[in-house]
């Protein structure tokens, strides 16, 4: 949409917002300030649509709405994800995806599907494991939250005495452990993002959750040991690529050993609970 050669001499009935948007889009294509990264667009992830214009046209009706439900957004193509510096907006082409006026149910579904996809990426074998940084791009802390609480509850249920202490200890151990492990990687000079790593370590607890449930149901010691060993190996296998890719190869063991240690101690907690 380049500048017109002739500007209409009559006032069009466009709203102010449309006019501003047209001028913005027109200015975008001729402006030297916008820098497009020279790489193919990233694959469309089933997650957050990026706001592609600074201002989102509001769907608020001019009359005060009587209910809090918002109108459904128009169906929009997903915008290409441009890298941007901290805090600044991205500017894109065409109509912007509108997360501000989507219905609440859409938000819920989007978050739930993100949890499921993150779980699948981390815990189950998939082709993205070779490029660990890409896999947990859309980190979220809901999954880890549920898994930690669930593990604490399971351990607490299995315990016959001091249930509260068991829960508090399990929760504090897992939460503080995740934070300390992340700090460990950062202090070793590794490149990892704090929340991404927390999210990863939380998701890797899923196998241990499964193991804890099985141990709660069957009280056989041999079975418990086998189950815990298997799930422990699974958890460590899940965490390995992400942690090892984040640090210098010579310091891989230093980064991985504490992770393994934490999962082993959780495993002992599961076995020893009676």
């Amino acid at each position: 949409m380049s500048h017109n050669d002739t500007i209409p001499l009559y006032q069009s009935s466009q709203s102010d917002i449309d006019e501003i948007e047209n001028m913005m889009n027109g200015g975008l294509q001729s402006g030297p300030g916008t820098v497009l990264p020279a790489r193919p667009p990233s694959p469309i992830r089933p997650s957050i649509p990026v706001s592609s214009s600074p201002f989102v046209q509001s769907n608020l009706p001019p009359l005060p709405p009587s209910s809090s439900s918002v109108p459904a957004p128009p169906s929009l193509p997903p915008a290409v994800n441009f890298g941007s510096s901290e805090g600044s907006k991205t500017i894109g082409f065409g109509s912007p995806p509108n997360t501000l006026t989507e219905p609440v149910w859409d938000t819920v579904k989007r978050d739930l599907s993100r949890i499921v996809s993150n779980l699948k990426l981390v815990v189950f074998p998939n082709p993205n494991r070779e490029d660990p940084g890409k896999a947990l791009r859309d980190w979220d802390l809901w999954g880890p939250f549920f898994f930690i609480v669930f593990l604490g509850l399971t351990l607490s249920w299995s315990a016959s005495v001091k249930k509260s202490e068991v829960f508090a200890v399990a929760f504090a151990l897992l939460a503080a452990g995740a934070v300390i492990l992340t700090l460990n990687v950062l202090l070793l000079g590794g490149h990892i993002i704090f929340f991404q790593s927390l999210s990863l370590l939380g998701y890797c607890l899923f196998p241990l959750d499964v193991g804890a449930v099985i141990c709660m149901l069957k009280d056989n010691v041999i079975l418990k040991m086998i189950v815990v060993t298997v799930t422990l190996a699974w958890s460590s296998w899940a965490a390995y690529p992400f942690m090892s890719a984040a640090v210098n190869p010579r310091r891989k063991a230093l980064a991985l050993y504490p992770v393994f240690l934490m999962y082993v101690s959780v495993g002992f907690l599961i076995i020893a609970i009676d």
């Binding site: 500048h3 050669d5 002739t6 500007i7 102010d16 917002i17 501003i20 001028m23 913005m24 027109g26 200015g27 790489r39 990233s42 957050i48 990026v50 706001s51 600074p54 201002f55 989102v56 046209q57 509001s58 608020l60 005060p64 709405p65 209910s67 809090s68 918002v70 994800n81 890298g83 941007s84 510096s85 901290e86 805090g87 907006k89 997360t99 501000l100 006026t101 609440v104 938000t107 978050d111 940084g133 791009r137 859309d138 980190w139 809901w142 609480v149 604490g152 509850l153 607490s156 249930k163 509260s164 829960f167 508090a168 929760f171 504090a172 490149h191 993002i193 704090f194 929340f195 991404q196």
Partner: protein
């Protein structure tokens, strides 16, 4: 009825306002009253933290959008860097936002954080480490929302100022161009 009285602006989104306050209040009330009814710390912890987490989600995703037209989240771009993204409605809609709604939004956010702080000080005085854990989790959730939305509001103002000056400049440019083409 006094005909000279100016019409009082009502809440524009009463249901959203209710939910905004509901989970916060429920978490605080449950925490304070539970000591009277429940002996088990586990239940107190799980229910309080669950309510606080639900409140965090509601404020971040629903009431922030509807009551003040702001939204914030964090993404990791292709270069592996962490990027904070902010989104806001355009200035016209922001100005049209119900004043009562946004007043309620911000003040309940601050009050809840202050209340958790006070409860945290109490449990610190009584040396109850496990209750301090609960308070710590709830406080950090509230603080995250406050910081996120404050940053978003500042960013929206900055964006609008930048945008306004950009618009004026390009409008001037197009006016000058049209003047030349018409000659």
């Amino acid at each position: 009825m006094d005909p000279n009285q100016p019409p009082v602006e009502n809440y524009a989104n009463p249901k959203t306002c209710l939910f905004h306050v509901l989970f916060k209040g429920a978490a605080l009330a449950f925490y304070i009253l539970s000591a009277l009814f429940f002996n088990s710390f586990v239940i107190i912890f799980v229910v309080t933290v669950l309510l606080a987490a639900l409140d965090f989600w509601v404020v971040k995703n629903v009431s922030g959008r509807i009551l003040v037209g702001l939204r914030w989240w964090n993404e990791i771009n292709d270069l592996g860097e962490s990027v904070w993204k902010f989104e806001s409605l355009d200035q016209e809609s922001l100005a049209r936002m119900n004043k009562k709604d946004s007043w309620l939004f911000w003040w309940t956010l601050y009050l809840a954080a202050a209340a958790w702080l006070v409860l945290g000080i109490f449990s610190l005085i009584r040396f109850q480490a496990d209750y301090l854990l609960v308070v710590g989790v709830c406080l950090s959730l509230n603080a995250a929302n406050i910081i996120g939305f404050t940053k978003c509001k500042k960013d929206a103002k900055k964006q609008f100022q930048q945008f306004a000056s950009q618009t004026i400049a390009s409008r001037f440019q197009s006016t000058v161009q049209s003047a030349f083409t018409l000659v």
